[in-house]
Structure formats: structure tokens, C-alpha cells
């Protein structure tokens, strides 16, 4: 039983991906022991009709998710009336989390709009998933270069909203050891493991961040699902840590919202 907090549905804008159709994606997740997957939509990166993106995502998870897909709506606080998108995610679609992509949506973490988003998400006790990047910046389409999110304002944001659960996603060295530990201590900050690299990555990661703040994430289907699964073979963590990272931490996080 594994809870994957970093899955994407629909189409990556720049090429077709293996498993970018929901049915095969769900089948593969199940075959590899994923019993719950928190799924956002690639459409949320570039579409302005975010309400439509989230409605389709909710329907797709409900009709083709085979009981394991939990939709995570996109909220873009630079769009007019984004607060209504957040309300619909929570009230109409029953989502427990939202995903934000400040770099694709053109704002910084210390912008007023971002502050307002955290305020509202906190009031609704929703989890915020912050994707620092989607792909290696060195391989971006030349007409679509999107820098990695600048994380310097995160300390202040987390200090101001320590009770808003925040999941840092796609962190390939953007937030390193000490800074990650500081964030975890300052608030309800979690890190998913899809981009944890170096040989024996998880053994190193648990030395930097309390294992209670690590979550299984795959960035599937952009990444091969096996990349995160195999990390538990390369690193020796012990049963308690493995169970916490793969399942218990995410379950506890969700339970704390209710």
C-alpha cells in the first residue's frame, strides 16, 4: 500500500508520454502497489480556464480512477476570481489539496496573491502542493523557458502560515539540507521524493529532514514510476521509515484535515 502524492493526468504540452491516458496509468499504479494517488492535471500549467481543468480532472478521477485517484485542483492566483476556483475545488469537487505552479503562472512566493491563496487554503484546511519545477530547465522548449521557483520567500511564508500543510514537490536540489530542515521545523512542510537524487538518496534525505515529513511521490507519468519505487531498494531505511514515507505520513496528513 503506497500513497503517491505526485501524479499528473492529461497531456504534457510538449510530447506524448507513456501512460498519459488515465486507464493505463491507473493500471500501472495498481500493479506497483500504489493504492492512492493524488493527481493534478498537466492542463493546469498553461490553461486559463482552470475551472474547466479542475472539473474535468474531478470527473476523470471519479469515472476512470478505479478508486485510487484523488484529484488535486490547480489554483492560479493571478487569474480573475481565482477564489472561486479554490471554492469549487473544496466544495464542489471535494478536493483535499490544491497544486500551485508559481513559475508557470507568473508570480513569486512573496506576492500578495500568493499570500492570499495561503490565507484561503488555510481557512479551508486544504493542503497546498508547491511544484518547484516540472522538467529540467536545460531541456525546456526554447520558446517556453520557465525558471525554477525562487524559494527564498518560503521561510517567511511558512512562518506566517505554519498550520497550512505544504508539500514541496519536484525538489532537485533547489531546497537543500539545512533549509529543508528549517522549513520542516517552521511549519507543516513536507517533501516528496520524486527528485531526490544521488546514490543512496533516501538514506541521505532522512538525515536532513525528519522522516515524518517525507512523502512518496513519483512525478508519474512524466518520470518513470520505477524511479521512486527503486529508491527503497537502493537505500536501506528500515520498516518504520519505509512505511511512514510510503503510506503513513500521507494518511496522517489527510486525517489531520478532517
Amino acid at each position: 500500500m503506497i500513497v503517491d502524492v505526485n501524479v499528473n493526468l492529461s497531456r504534457w504540452p510538449f510530447r506524448r508520454l507513456e501512460f498519459d491516458a488515465t486507464g493505463p496509468l491507473v493500471t500501472k499504479l495498481r500493479q506497483h502497489g500504489i493504492t492512492e494517488a493524488w493527481a493534478g492535471s498537466f492542463d493546469g500549467l498553461l490553461h486559463s480556464d482552470v475551472a474547466g481543468v479542475n472539473a474535468r480532472l474531478a470527473t476523470e478521477c471519479q469515472t476512470r480512477g478505479d478508486g485510487i485517484l484523488q484529484p488535486v485542483g490547480t489554483v492560479n492566483p493571478t487569474l480573475p476570481d481565482w477564489q472561486e476556483d479554490l471554492r469549487r475545488c473544496h466544495e464542489d469537487h471535494g478536493m483535499h489539496a490544491i497544486r500551485i505552479n508559481p513559475n508557470y503562472h507568473g508570480y513569486q512566493l512573496d506576492d500578495a496573491a500568493c499570500d492570499a491563496l495561503f490565507q484561503l487554503a488555510g481557512e479551508r484546511r486544504m493542503i497546498v502542493q508547491l511544484a518547484l519545477k516540472m522538467e529540467d530547465v536545460r531541456t525546456h522548449h526554447p520558446l517556453m523557458q520557465v525558471p525554477t521557483v525562487k524559494v527564498a520567500p518560503l521561510d517567511a511564508l511558512v512562518t506566517k502560515y505554519p498550520h497550512v500543510p505544504l508539500i514541496i514537490m519536484n525538489n532537485y536540489g533547489t531546497i537543500r539540507g539545512d533549509a529543508a530542515a528549517r522549513l520542516a521545523q517552521a511549519g507543516q512542510v513536507y517533501f516528496e521524493i520524486s527528485h531526490a537524487e544521488q546514490v543512496g538518496a533516501l538514506e541521505k534525505l532522512v538525515q536532513q529532514v525528519p522522516f515524518q515529513r517525507l512523502l512518496f511521490g513519483s512525478h508519474f507519468p512524466f518520470f518513470n514510476l520505477e524511479a521512486s519505487l527503486f529508491k527503497f531498494r537502493e537505500s536501506r531505511l528500515g520498516g518504520l521509515m519505509v512505511e511512514a514515507i510510503q503510506t503513513a505520513n500521507a494518511r496522517r496528513l489527510r486525517a489531520s484535515q478532517r
Binding site: 500500500m1 503506497i2 510530447r15 506524448r16 508520454l17 507513456e18 501512460f19 493500471t27 500501472k28 500493479q31 506497483h32 502497489g33 522538467e135 529540467d136 530547465v137 536545460r138 531541456t139 525546456h140 522548449h141 526554447p142 523557458q145 532537485y172 537524487e197 544521488q198 546514490v199 543512496g200 538518496a201 538514506e203 508519474f220 507519468p221 512524466f222 518520470f223 518513470n224 514510476l225 520505477e226 524511479a227 521512486s228 519505487l229 527503486f230 529508491k231 527503497f232 531498494r233 537502493e234 537505500s235 536501506r236 531505511l237 528500515g238 520498516g239 518504520l240 521509515m241 519505509v242 512505511e243 511512514a244 510510503q246 503510506t247 503513513a248
Partner: protein, 306 residues
Amino acid sequence: MHRRLFLQATAALGLSGAASNGSAGESPAGDAGQDAAQPATPVAGDLIWDLHCHFSGVPGPTIEDRTRQILEYADRMGVQRLVFFMGWPWSQNPTPDDFRRQNDQVLEALAKWPERLLGFAYLSGHHPRESLQEIERCIASGPMVGIKLWVARKCSDEALDPIIARCGELNAAIYQHTWLKTQGNGEGESTPMDLALLADRHPTVPIICGHTGGDWTRGIRAVRAHKNVSIGIGGSEPTSGFVEMAVRELGAERVIYGSDVGGRSFSSQLAKVYGAEVPEAAKRQILGENLKRMLSPILQTKGIPS
């Protein structure tokens, strides 16, 4: 899904009911969460040779310390043979003294683990004469079986031709780093297109296009017509579709697994192969058979068991 792949993946997670590995890191509450997936011992069976390993990513004051740790991780992942190149610390534009120092470190590791490790000599296109001397020292008269060229000088430069020709005579493998960075490559950093020019001048010499340019969708195309070029798939994000496109456009026989540990992990790089939707026979070729075939002549010459 292929049955063997499924078994590999589930075994990797301990979902097949394999016994605990009893590692020192096992929690005292080791039975906590009976449903939790547990790390398992490596799955035997696949021949896995890793084209691309460094002494980085692990602590330790000596090469022996570092290599021992890398090998422990390799054991867990079922990687049998590892090709090392460059030493620690490394440099992008090494002087002859510096690349000799780094090659000495690789030679030290080879002497300690001759049955597991293979070595490529680190050279520089900026120093072709000294590089040729290093080929004689490390390969013709030493145990190394290939060369590594990094970012000192673009490989399209004809100054590299004597190096490539000599490697051809020795059946030594040639690993050339390539990238295609959206923001632009470094001054001496080769693209797969540069490598294609080199391959054109040496059509009978096998050459490996390292990283496949990072942007593999363009890198694969750049070398597609050059049948003497294989691609190294290591050292980039584990993006899905890489191996599928490579097998489709090049054929599985031109695709070689490598990791780029310790900056990368065995996990993420092996996942490119195990997670690919290609025939199992193709996976076996990529994981080890292709590199073994490429190196067999020089291994045989040197009397190194393969």
C-alpha cells in the same frame, strides 16, 4: 505489463513476500505496518553493466572508501560491472598532470576490485599529444578499456582525430559527453551534432554519445544516421519515453545503460530501462549485453574476464 518486469518491480518493493534484508538500518519496530513495502535484496538474473560511474556522491577521504560505498549500492541494485572514469576532485579543463592524477585514482580502484570495475582514461582535447601518451600508459600498457572526453574541447574539432584513431586501433571504447542545453552549452561542451561530425570522420570506430544530449528527443535524431554511434542514457532525469524512442529510432543494440552515480542514482537511471515499454530482450541488451559486446574484444586482448 511484462511478467518479468512486474516481478522485478514488486520484488524491488518486497511486495512479492521476500524476506526482510535484515539491514543494520532496520527499525527496532521493524514489524510496524505489515502492509508497508520493504526494501529487498537485489533481484538476480539480469546482466547489468553500468557505463558511467564516478567517485562522487559519497563521503570519504580515499578512493577506496568511496568505491566501497558505491559498490554496496550497486550490489543492492544488482549492478555487476561498473565503468569508472575521472577522479576526485575532477576538473572540466584538466591539465595533463591533472588528468594523470585522476586516472591514477581510477587505476587504484581497478587494482582493488579487478573483478568488478572497468576503467576509462580521462583525456582532454586541449592536450592531444599528452592524451595519446595517456592512452599508451592506461590502455595499451595498462588495464583501462576506454576513454572519457568531457567538456574541454568540442569533439568536432579535428585535433581529436589522432585520439579517436588510436582508440580504434586498440578497440578502446570512446565515451564523449554531450548536451543540448536550451540556455546554450559551455564553450567546449559538445552537442550530439558535434559528435555526429566526429563519427562521420571515423565511421568504423564505435563512439558513445554520452547523455544523448540531455534533450534526447533531439539527441537521438542527431546521431540516428551514424551507425557507429551508440547512446549512453545515464545522467539525466528519468523521463519516460527516452528508451522507447531510442529503441524505435536506433534499435536496442545502440542503447547502453549507465547511471552517472554518485550525482545520480542507480534507481532513477535503471528505471529508464525497467520502466520502458520495450521488449524484454531489448532491456537485456541495454542493461548489459551491448556494453559487454562492445568491450569484449579489448577485454579479451587484456585477458580480463567478461
